[in-house]
């Protein structure tokens, strides 16, 4: 098979605390060596001035297939992923039908393989039909390739079911990924509850709707010894609970999305003349104070991973009154530049810390052999130009959907090449 040499890039591999200029030799889809390379056989990629990282991992995306293929497919979503620098993604099971049995998990692999872009890892649902009543066949799903379990979007209301899910998944060493929301408290809410929701007359979702559920799930994790991963953390109080849990060695990890550390609820008042449904997301955009707390949590490791929560919706669904629009925004092709612009360039995180949250950390949470450039690892590599400035334009995205809240935003950092299993799939 083919040989690729990536020459003279600044190689950053947080898993090995590696950060210096080096060459990477790829042979037969695997990393052969990292260091000085004198051979010039095979394809040579000049990476001078570029950052070379392990292929990025987005552990929280929605691909909509099967069921809503007009919004996204495994093919279009995994293509968007590699254009955003992601070589591996984990997709949520809230499809129609949901990923709640072995065959449906295998279907995801099969479709991803046919596309030949990113590696796609299915997340199975915790309960049958995501109904929150009976456990799905978690063992069978693991055989089908599920790397984690979640009823994302529909939090498991029954604490006993959640308890058994954590307990049962423990046997396979798989995490339960929890979308923490107490539906009684979030009620008809469509945005963060606070001054802005009050001004706009929109029903609010209080922070406590998220925090109360995190508290419950953390306590159940302590009880069961299972593994809990908290999806899209958005509030200061949520972070305090996770920090508390981690201090007590409860097996809790967490993630945040770029929109939750970039945008606040105020944007719903001002952006695009107000009430822009592209700003409607769950959990909702919070406040400056929450963003400050997220910054600290990213720095001290309370938040382990950064994810897109890529949630495609068709224009006819989103182009309606704010309160009628569905929750969610796309993100696969804007995560990386937002992290570079909002976290790295603002010195919230070092480049290496940021990359860890996109590589080795999510790989460890999901238990997948990815996220490092160690010799012998799968040759998933992302090449990034940190200085390249550009303007986000969803019309140019590979995703089928356009519900992006960052249209027109000037960002820095562009994916130059994405290599998956030794194959160059994006070549800019």
């Amino acid at each position: 098979m083919s040989t690729i040499i990536i020459k003279n890039g600044r190689v950053i591999d947080p898993a090995k605390k590696f950060d210096r200029v080096a060459d990477i030799l790829i042979e037969n889809g695997k990393i052969k060596s990292v260091g000085k390379q004198n051979t010039s056989k095979g394809q040579v990629i000049n990476a001078k001035g570029l950052i070379v990282t392990p292929g990025l991992i987005d552990m929280h995306v929605h691909l909509r297939e099967p069921g809503r293929e007009e919004e996204e497919t495994i093919a279009s979503g995994s293509t968007a992923a590699v254009h955003g620098g992601f070589t591996s993604i984990a997709c949520m099971p809230n499809t129609d039908p949901p990923i709640d049995d072995e065959a449906s998990a295998e279907f995801v692999y099969l479709q991803a393989k046919r596309t030949g872009k990113a590696n796609v890892f299915p997340i199975g649902s915790v309960t049958k039909n995501r109904a929150g009543k009976e456990l799905a066949e978690i063992g069978q799903l693991v055989r089908g390739g599920a790397v984690a379990f979640s009823d994302d979007g529909d939090p498991i209301d029954n604490a006993e079911v959640m308890r058994r899910g954590l307990e049962y998944a423990k046997m396979f060493n798989k995490p339960i990924i929890a979308h923490c929301e107490n539906k009684d408290l979030s009620g008809p809410g469509v945005m963060n509850e606070g001054l802005i929701s009050l001004e706009l007359g929109l029903p609010g979702i209080p922070s406590v709707a998220e925090e109360i559920m995190i508290h419950r799930d953390v306590m159940l994790t302590r009880l069961t010894g299972g593994r809990l991963h908290i999806a899209h953390v958005s509030t200061e109080g949520a972070i305090e609970l996770i920090r508390w849990a981690k201090k007590r060695k409860i097996k809790v990890t967490s993630e945040v999305t770029p929109h939750h550390f970039t945008l606040t609820d105020e944007s719903i008042k001002y952006v695009n003349g107000g009430f822009d449904p592209n700003l409607k997301v769950n959990p909702p955009l919070r406040t400056k104070k929450d963003i400050q707390a997220i910054y600290r949590a990213l720095k001290d490791g309370t938040i382990d991973a950064i994810v897109s929560d890529h949630a495609p919706h068709s224009p006819e669904e989103k182009d309606v009154e704010f309160s009628s629009a569905p929750f969610g925004m796309i993100g696969l092709e804007s995560v990386l530049p937002l992290i570079i612009t909002e976290l790295v360039n603002k010195k919230i995180l070092t480049l290496s810390e940021a990359i860890a949250k996109l590589t080795i950390n999510p790989a460890r949470i999901l238990g997948i052999p990815k996220g490092t450039l160690a010799v012998g690892a799968d040759a998933d590599v992302t090449l990034i130009d940190l200085k390249k400035e550009w303007v986000i334009d969803p019309e140019k995205f590979k995703s089928k959907s356009r519900n992006c809240p960052f249209t027109g935003r000037k960002v820095k950092g562009r994916v130059i090449k994405t290599i998956v299993n030794g194959k160059v799939v994006v070549d800019n």
Binding site: G194, L198, E199, N272, E321, F322, S323
Partner: protein, 311 residues
């Protein structure tokens, strides 16, 4: 009839939050001139002749819709009524498509009432017409706010320094919000009075005082604007019953004895007699409830007139 030099540059009226004190005063002054028209034998001026106005009411309303209709007619505009029960919205057409279709018929001004906050804002993005918000969910009801303020100004000869209580379900009230924005901008002190479940603390950040005790604040009030208590809120745990509400917050003549002699009573209607206000107060000497309706017409004429002049 109208002073020739009026400075006005807003094509839409979406809410009082957006307006400056000067702009609010401009509308009130213009409304003052139009009020005179209603007293004439021939109640019509040619200001909007040849203009087409659509009353797009996607939520039930009698008072506001009729008021806008009449206002447009007195300005000689052609007005078309469009209500949801007779519309294609019932057949699943989106608001955006419906509005575009209406506009394609050559409409200059769209007046919209809709249950969704921000529905008028959506229309500003898809239509070229002037958009007037006639109430969008719990967000704003700017012409109601303006007519309340107009009535207060007419009676009290000023706004600055007045103490105005807005009593009732503040949380769900677009009328309360428009009153708060408008009155505070003009220098009045607004006091929100009602059950603690219906007045989130964040209202303080808008410069509003909060009270859960009407009797305590009553003696210092110049104006009491009483909101309608929606019966459907009873079963949502926001308050236990309308009976209890009436006991604690209902404005009756007994309670009013503690008020200033010249206290002004307003109510945007429709009234639930015996709940938030007793009949003897609603029909009593302090009440300006029917004058509000009369003034509403003048205010809406002013708004239609002003926005229609903006290119």
């Amino acid at each position: 009839m109208i002073k020739t030099k009026i400075k006005w540059s807003r094509k839409h009226l979406l809410g009082l939050a957006d307006l400056s004190a000067t702009e609010i005063t401009t509308i009130l002054d213009t409304a003052g001139s139009f009020k005179e028209v209603s007293t004439r034998n021939i109640k019509k001026v040619p200001a909007l002749r040849g203009k087409v106005v659509v009353n797009m009411f996607v939520e039930p309303s009698t008072r506001t819709k009729t008021s806008f209709s009449l206002a447009a007619k007195r300005l000689s505009a052609d007005i078309v009524d469009f209500s949801s029960s007779s519309s294609s919205l019932v057949k699943g057409e989106s608001l955006k498509d419906t509005a575009r279709n209406i506009e394609a018929m050559g409409v200059d001004i769209v007046i919209i009432r809709h249950r969704a906050p921000g529905a008028p804002h959506l229309l500003t993005k898809v239509l070229d017409a002037c958009i007037i918000n006639a109430g969008d969910g719990a967000h704003e009801h700017p012409t109601q706010g303006l007519l309340d303020i107009f009535t207060i100004r007419e009676k009290k000869k000023k706004i600055k320094g007045l103490k105005v209580a807005v009593v009732g379900d503040i949380l769900h009230s677009r009328v309360a919000r428009s009153n708060i924005w408008g009155l505070t901008k003009l220098g009045a002190q607004v006091i929100a009075v009602g059950p603690s479940t219906l007045i989130p603390d964040e209202f303080k950040e808008l410069g509003v005082k909060i009270s859960y005790n009407i009797d305590e604040v009553l003696p210092e009030l110049d104006v009491i604007n009483i909101l309608r208590i929606q019966m459907e809120r009873q079963n949502t745990n926001l308050f236990p019953s309308t009976r209890e509400y009436a006991r604690i917050f209902g404005i009756n003549s007994e309670r009013l004895k503690k008020a200033k002699k010249d206290v002004l009573i307003l109510h945007p209607g429709p009234i639930n007699r015996g709940v938030e206000i007793t009949p003897e107060v609603a029909d009593g000497k302090h009440s300006a409830i029917l004058e509000q309706v009369t003034n509403g017409l003048a205010v809406r004429m002013a708004v239609l007139y002003l926005v229609s002049g903006v290119k």
